[in-house]
């Protein structure tokens, strides 16, 4: 019964979403306040209904209701409760429901927090959100309905893919979707602004926090996915330039650009047209990502099932959303008048450079990811684009970007003094040079590029700290004065410094992987191997029984200079239901380096293939990502999003809402 109610709620949600798409738009054009306000109610209703449907599906999973086809295909009574719960989105239908759930969550959040928006703008934003929601609800109901029943009810389900039976499933998809779907708000704001023909500083103030929130979530989501792949696949890679990873990286790159260009709109009233375009592109790339992952055109662990109907439907949604918004852009963008002038060497100029490099990077990733699909579609040969392509195009674009990260914040708005900025960066330059020289000396004959990357990281980190110190007048004013300035410094400024430092930390992690050491060997119980100054002793294997698998568990002792560092237990698991083996790696970390251990196959004579890796600095990749996201959150907590925007809203009100309030 609950399942039918969930199904019913989902159908109702389609209608409230349609109402949300239509009524406020009509109201805004007729300047009818009541109709505009209806959008808010519809947004709350859509959210409540989808939340109910989602809860109904979760209930079906947790109670193992195998009369529901989706549950029977993806769950099993032996599965631990956590995976019965997270398995809800470990399949196509459930993950699409999660997608729409988050979309309506954002719609309701705009309706809830949008008090300071002019009513007409809010109405239009909600309407665009409603259109996206309607499209995806229709998609779920027509092609991917998770509530379909089957008769007769099977005795048990088919279980969840063992690879997905991992705590990572609880966090990675929801965070990723919060990011993907969060960009829909920026998109809706952009389309609403195009309909109104007005983009100003206030608009940028409203867009920026939503973009920031989505960006933070996407950063964490991507980092978690990378970490999951790292510890689960058993050979310690953390980024594979896999099309599915690229699908999440593209909106991240465009979103990062958007984050920066919105600053220019807000502070200087320039780059308006470009920012609107970027907002459209960012969400379009999220949709492309959804299409790539969900349509089954790609071969990947994320592609749950292939159904041509689904691919066509998402492609259609994509065409309507991207085509429609770009057409609107072509018609209305010329009306967006450019504002403040600026010289090429200025803060604005630096942010333009940031945008240029990030969009180019997104474009190369886009090309490399979609080229094989394009070639296949026109009947060409089946090809794949190898990872060296991405390394060769992506890395050269990141070098000037990192160089600019330290300089940009030191330039003044409108007309900057490059020479002055560079002079103030002498400490950063000295630090980078020192790191490179020491690095080259210490790793003579080692990877030179990695050492240069460390130098870049030092440049970014010290440059960021220099800018921060200048703002506090550290060492130049009294300590008391600096403290007063630190307290007065806006959170957004703290956030920027923090995010840029996070970037430097992550770059160290990327470069550190060049120094990893690897040993693959067959080990007999009682034997040991030496790697990177450690001794790894193999004590033996024991059998272990998990809830829905059996495992061979290795006992290893990691020693350094005779002292025990860690006891490690990598496992080889076998899931009888799916007849599928998986590896469970053992990782010992001190947050600066990982010792990574995975089991291969037994040799049949008591020995086991063991893969041991020493991975210096690799944990910094994820620590850096967390620091970046934390910087985003700091910036999000800036009070100007709440205080300043309301003040401007009142000034903007006469144009946007001539109807009496």
């Amino acid at each position: 019964m609950i399942v039918e109610l969930g199904h019913f709620a989902l159908v109702l949600a389609l209608f409230t979403s349609l109402a949300q798409a239509g009524l406020p738009l009509w109201g805004a054009s007729r300047r009818h306040l009541g109709l505009m306000e209806a959008g808010r109610g519809a947004a709350f209703a859509s959210f409540a209904l989808v939340a109910f449907a989602f809860a109904a599906l979760i209930n079906a999973y947790v109670t193992s209701d195998f009369s529901v086809l989706n549950v029977a295909e993806n769950s099993h009574t032996d599965k631990p409760l956590l995976y019965q719960f997270t398995g809800v989105w470990g399949n196509h239908e459930g993950s699409m429901l999660l997608w729409v759930f988050i979309l309506t969550l954002f719609g309701a959040a705009v309706a809830w927090f949008g008090d300071n928006l002019p009513p007409a703008l809010r109405a239009r934003v909600l309407a665009v959100q409603g259109m996206i929601g309607s499209g995806f609800l229709l998609f779920i109901l027509l092609t991917s309905n998770p509530f379909l029943r089957q008769v007769p009810e099977p005795a048990n389900g088919q279980g969840l893919n063992p690879i997905l039976q991992d705590p990572g499933l609880a966090f990675h998809p929801p965070m990723l979707y919060l990011g993907y779907v969060g960009f829909s708000v920026a998109f809706s704001f952009a389309v609403a602004a195009l309909i109104e023909g007005r983009v100003d500083a206030a608009w940028a103030r409203w867009v920026r926090p939503w973009t920031l929130a989505a960006w933070c979530a996407l950063t964490i989501g991507i980092a978690m996915g990378s970490w999951w792949a790292y510890y689960t696949l058993g050979w310690g890679g953390w980024w594979f330039w896999d099309p599915v990873e690229n699908a999440s990286l593209m909106p991240w790159l465009a979103g990062t650009a958007l984050l920066h260009s919105a600053i220019v709109v807000e502070k200087r009233d320039a780059l308006k047209s470009w920012t609107v375009l970027l907002a459209i592109i960012t969400f379009s790339l999220s949709l492309v990502g959804t299409f790539l992952v969900r349509s089954g055109v790609l071969t990947s662990v994320h592609a749950f099932a292939v159904d041509p109907m689904r691919g066509t439907f998402i492609l259609l949604l994509l065409l309507v959303a991207v085509g429609g918004s770009l057409t609107l852009y072509a018609v209305r963008a010329p009306a967006l008048k450019g504002g403040g002038l600026f010289a090429p060497i200025s803060r604005e100029g630096a942010l333009v450079l940031n945008n240029l490099l990030l969009s180019c990077a997104a474009a190369t990733v886009f090309l490399g990811t979609l080229y094989p699909l394009f070639l296949d579609a026109v009947g060409g040969p089946k090809v794949s684009v190898g990872y060296p392509f991405f390394n060769r195009t992506f890395a050269p674009l990141m070098v000037p970007l990192l160089l600019a990260v330290a300089v940009g914040p030191l330039l003044a708005w409108k007309r900057g003094d490059l020479l002055g900025a560079l002079q103030r960066l002498w400490v950063a330059f000295a630090a980078a040079l020192a790191v490179i020289l020491v690095g080259l000396y210490a790793t003579s004959g080692g990877p030179v590029l990695a050492v240069l990357a460390f130098g870049l990281a030092a440049w970014v980190a010290v440059g960021t700290l220099t800018e921060w110190a200048e703002r506090l007048r550290l060492f130049r004013a009294s300590a008391h004065d600096s403290w007063r300035r630190a307290r007065g410094l806006p959170r957004a400024s703290w956030g920027m410094s923090c995010a840029h430092l996070g970037l430097a930390v992550a770059v160290c992690g990327f470069a550190g992987s060049a120094f990893e050491q690897e040993r693959i060997d067959v080990m007999q119980p009682g034997s040991s191997l030496a790697i990177a100054g450690f001794t790894l002793a193999f004590q033996g294997m024991e059998e272990e029984q998990g809830p829905n698998y059996s495992a061979d568990r290795g006992n290893f002792i990691l020693r350094r200079d005779g002292a025990t560092v860690a006891v490690m237990h990598p496992e080889k698991r076998f899931f009888p239901l799916q007849q599928m083996p998986t590896s469970k790696t053992a990782i010992h970390t001190n947050l600066l380096a990982d010792f990574y251990l995975a089991l291969g196959d037994p040799d049949g004579k008591g020995g086991w293939t063991v893969r041991a890796y020493w991975k210096p600095l690799v944990p910094l990749i994820w620590i850096g990502a967390v620091v970046m996201a934390f910087g985003g959150l700091l910036s999000l907590s800036d009070r100007r999003w709440r205080v300043g925007a309301a003040a401007r809203a009142r000034r903007a009100a006469p144009i946007a809402a001539p109807v009496g309030e």
């Binding site: 893919n161 063992p162 690879i163 696949l233 058993g234 050979w235 890679g237 594979f240 089954g296 071969t299 990947s300 662990v301 592609a303 749950f304 099932a305 292939v306 002038l341 600026f342 010289a343 090429p344 333009v352 240029l356 490099l357 180019c360 474009a363 190369t364 090309l367 490399g368 080229y371 040969p381 089946k382 090809v383 794949s384 684009v385 190898g386 990872y387 060296p388 392509f389 060769r392 195009t393 050269p396 674009l397 693959i520 060997d521 067959v522 080889k572 799916q578 007849q579 599928m580 083996p581 998986t582 590896s583 291969g600 196959d601 040799d603 020995g607 293939t609 063991v610 893969r611």
Partner: protein, 155 residues
């Protein structure tokens, strides 16, 4: 500086960057496109040795030889009609087994052996890489299965 001239600089700067990026991209792309072949096509097309390609098919039953170092293996990839000798040294995926679908990336040596640099084995019983499935369908060695899913491993 006038508004027009500033815009001109901005556009020129943008175009210059775009030009450099396009050049880089095309250069990198020309080197890194790996064409997929079935073993039959590999023989028929006369693929030059030293060109990086992907081949896919089934691991021929009885062909797998494991060296004692735990990372070097030799096997044959077949599409039912033709088979190719493959050798590989590196991380062997969990699901690599005889009789199962596999996709390998690497280069053909002069003696006709394929030196694999990475091995992708199919992901579970139901799933198989799409290219492998299509290749097997062509030679009639296809059994009905579901979606293509693969996890990979590299050296």
């Amino acid at each position: 500086m006038t508004r027009k001239r500033r815009r001109l600089y901005l556009v020129l700067g943008g175009l210059a960057t775009l030009g450099v990026v396009s050049g880089l991209t095309l250069f990198a792309l020309s080197d890194n496109i790996n064409v997929f072949y079935s073993p039959t096509e590999l023989h028929a097309d006369g693929v030059r040795d030293g060109v990086r390609v992907r081949i896919g098919g089934l691991v021929e039953n009885g062909s797998l030889v494991r060296e004692s170092d735990g990372k070097t293996i030799a096997f044959r990839v077949t599409d039912g009609k033709t088979a190719v000798d493959v050798d590989y040294s590196g991380v062997i995926p969990d699901l690599f087994r005889e009789g199962q679908g596999v996709m390998v990336e690497g280069k053909l040596a002069r003696d006709g052996t394929f030196h694999a640099e990475s091995v992708l084995a199919k992901h579970d019983e139901k799933y198989m890489p799409r290219e492998v499935a299509d290749a097997l369908k062509k030679t009639g060695h296809w059994q009905e299965t579901a979606a293509p899913v693969a996890v990979g491993a590299k050296e």
